[in-house]
């Protein structure tokens, strides 16, 4: 110890500290992988338990058309169909509005207008879903009924509209990012050819940003699929298979989505060990797989897009 100079001793000591800090920070980053792994593992583990019961089977889960845990029917299709109804209708609301907002913000809005609309949309995105669910249940459903729609007090229509409003900020902000990233030289070229602003927006900016816009749609739809509180509060818990002959009937009535079925499994009287309780893990795994694939696809599309202009 005496032979070493103070400087080198300090340096090796410092190395130890540096390495320790590095390891600690790496552990933080690695935790995220651990989270994904444990989601997959716990869901898969209890899904196996679920399919181990006498009244359940993988084939029945995927092919049967009834979800009635009380009577031992565990076909996932009614839940999937309700989820799809919510997703499609909310997309019909959110995609046009979100895209229009993105075009306006990226191409037309003055800086002053932007400084008002963007924070407003951001605040919209910060409102919790339980509040959206409450708005749908207590205000939107009565309003829709008062204009003459034959809706039940729980219905998928107002739930879907609310989910649509919920995902508008997501579509608009991500699409706007994609549109703003389109190089100005492309716009200038359009103007140089005598194009109007409308033509530049619709025929140059949107096509050039189409992959970014598309990836925002996928992300928003994946959010709509996983949305829970709005559909539980406003959509009700009755299981209904989509009826192609009476599409509006399915919209006007209650419907139990996949997420709602999970909530029902854990909050209803189902006891800890029953198949109904374990069913939430099987549904959760399906939900996780669907949304994870969609997010992955969205990332891929957005990543490909980024390569084009840089």
């Amino acid at each position: 110890m005496n032979g070493e100079s103070a400087l080198t001793r300090g340096a090796t000591d410092r190395d130890v500290k540096e390495r320790l800090v590095g390891v600690l920070l790496f552990a933080c980053a690695a935790l995220t992988i651990f989270v994904t792994a444990s989601i997959l593992f716990t869901l898969a583990y209890d899904t196996v338990t679920f399919f181990g019961f006498d009244e359940t089977s993988v084939v029945g889960f995927l092919t049967e058309l009834e979800w009635e845990p009380r009577n031992g029917f565990y076909g996932v299709w009614p839940l999937v169909s309700s989820t799809l109804i919510v997703t499609v209708v909310s997309a019909l609301v959110a995609i046009p509005i979100g895209t229009a907002a993105a075009v306006y913000l990226s191409e037309y809005a003055s800086p002053k207008m932007r400084s008002v609309i963007k924070p407003a949309l951001e605040i919209l995105a910060g409102i919790p879903t339980v509040v959206y669910g409450y708005l749908a249940l207590v205000y939107l459903t009565p309003w829709l009924r008062s204009i003459g729609l034959p809706l039940g007090s729980f219905n998928l229509l107002s739930a879907s509209i609310m989910v649509g409003i919920l995902i508008v900020p997501m579509v608009s902000s991500l699409s706007e990012d994609a549109m703003s990233a389109v190089p100005d030289s492309l716009r200038q070229a359009g103007y140089g050819l005598g194009a109007t602003k409308y033509e530049v927006s619709t025929r140059i900016v949107i096509p050039a940003a189409v992959s970014g816009v598309f990836s925002s749609y996928i992300l928003a739809l994946s959010r709509a699929i996983g949305e829970t509180m709005i559909v539980v509060m406003a959509g009700g818990l009755q299981t209904n298979l989509f009826d192609p002959l009476d599409p509006f009937g399915s919209l006007a009535g209650s419907g139990r989505t996949m997420t709602a079925a999970m909530v029902n499994a854990v909050t209803s009287d189902a006891t800890g060990g029953s198949p109904e309780y374990y069913s939430m893990f099987a549904i959760g795994l399906s939900l996780f797989a669907i949304t994870f694939l969609m997010n992955l696809a969205s990332n891929r599309i957005a990543a490909r897009y980024r390569e084009v202009y840089q």
Binding site: R14, V16, T32, A100, L124, F292
Partner: protein
Amino acid sequence: MASETPSSGTWFGSAEKVGRLRGRIFKWTCLGATVLTLALMLVFLLYVANDAFRPFSADPGWLATMGLTVVVPIALLAGYYYRRDRSAGQVAYTALGLPVLVALASGGLWLLFRHIVSPREWFVLVVSIVVAGGLVVGHSRVRHDAVTERLVVTVLVPLLVVVGIPTVLPGLGQFLYLLPVLPNALFSLILGFVLPVAAIVGWRVRAVRDADRDGAIAAGITVAGGLAGLGLGPLVGIHPTSWFVFAAPIVGALVVYVEHVVRNDKGLSGLAFPVVVVAGVFAGLAVTQLLGFAGPDAWLNMDFLTSAHDTDPSEAGIYPTLVGSVLILLVIVLSAFPVGIGAAIYLEEYATSQGRFGTVMELIQVNIANLAGVPSIVYGVLGLAIFINLIGMGRGTAVVAGFTVGLLILPIVIISTQEAIRAVPDSHRQASYAMGATKWQTVRNVVLPESLAGIFTGTILALGRAIGETAPLLMIGIPATVRIAPDSFLSRTGAMPRQIFSWSTQITTEFRYGVLAAGVVTLLVVLLTMNAAAIVLRNRSQQTQ
């Protein structure tokens, strides 16, 4: 490309008049769709506010008086700022918003002091921390070169002093309890809360003004604002301890902000705004009291905020779940934030993009982006499976709820922190390295201080997301209604959004249009204040860059 197609002749600008009309229609459609959504939500929120406050149940005289004393002065002042002095407008809403924000935080703290840590426990904790800090600093002065030893001391000493070794050696706190004289609640808070807050304010002012005297004055004002509660508190019916918890941080924050405005000498007249608002409210209340005008019979009133759920709607309140939500947030702040910020630092500053390790980093990055999109209910199932079924923690406790929601917002914290860190120019890092700093020293002394505003913004937004999350709470068994506030992090607790959900299943109109609206407004006020603060903070820091 266009020249290859036969339609190239009609490509652009053929029918000018039609084109112009079409363009205009397109523009207005786009704007209309955006505004329609925002307007629809505004209408919804107005309905909720109307149901919660029922302003029209008030005496017309009350409304008129309040309009004259509060609304008219605000409108006049706002008009003046708009026409004469724009920067004063910015100062005006900051000077009004800052105390509101601080008051919210103080409210959370007040709940903690009331239910979790008594003022005396807090005092003992503060003393322990100060002693531990003193030991660490003292040691680093004496043995400056021994880095490893210092590291060990920095980790072990606070642990030993504050916590002690379980069953072998109690922490310093346990010894302090054995002392014959301990200050009572009042003095505990003065010593353990008002003085530290004043010290922080004074230190901050001293640092920016570079003058000891100004720092001392700032600290003095803060202490005076806190201690005023001893005399004024009983007069207005507020317990002095409550006064301390609210007044010291508010006065302190105002001192720092006023100093900032005065130093920049821009928009000074904006400081009049909060004074006018507060004076107007008090004047209005005094006049209506004098003339006997009845105020609105609002659902959201003091009783609602201070009582528990009841089957009788007029008695029902949100208090215990408010405490629960504060506990859950505290767990999140202590668990998810350090981990998230640490992960972001690693990914931005330490990770290499080359070789096999680079692939792992890329995997982690993609994984984080995907985790941000996993539905919240799946995190609830994860929390149920891991924390409750596997580890065996109690169902519906604040710790489990905090950990579960913490995992949910972890990707958001990481992504926003990464963005904040990325905004720090590389030249600053290089300068630090050139001075011989190590990586961690660079991170600690250069990168983190510069990205602090951005990190702060991101974490506030993430916290806002966390307050409103409901689905995970359902899965981990947060009870639908609670009558008493939790007394520790390990006892079963309610949460605001969970309470709102269980009220929404009640079918009586009083619950649907009254209690529920009041609960939603409470949640939204907390949340929107936080989000607005974060957005304002971000826009300011972008302006200065």
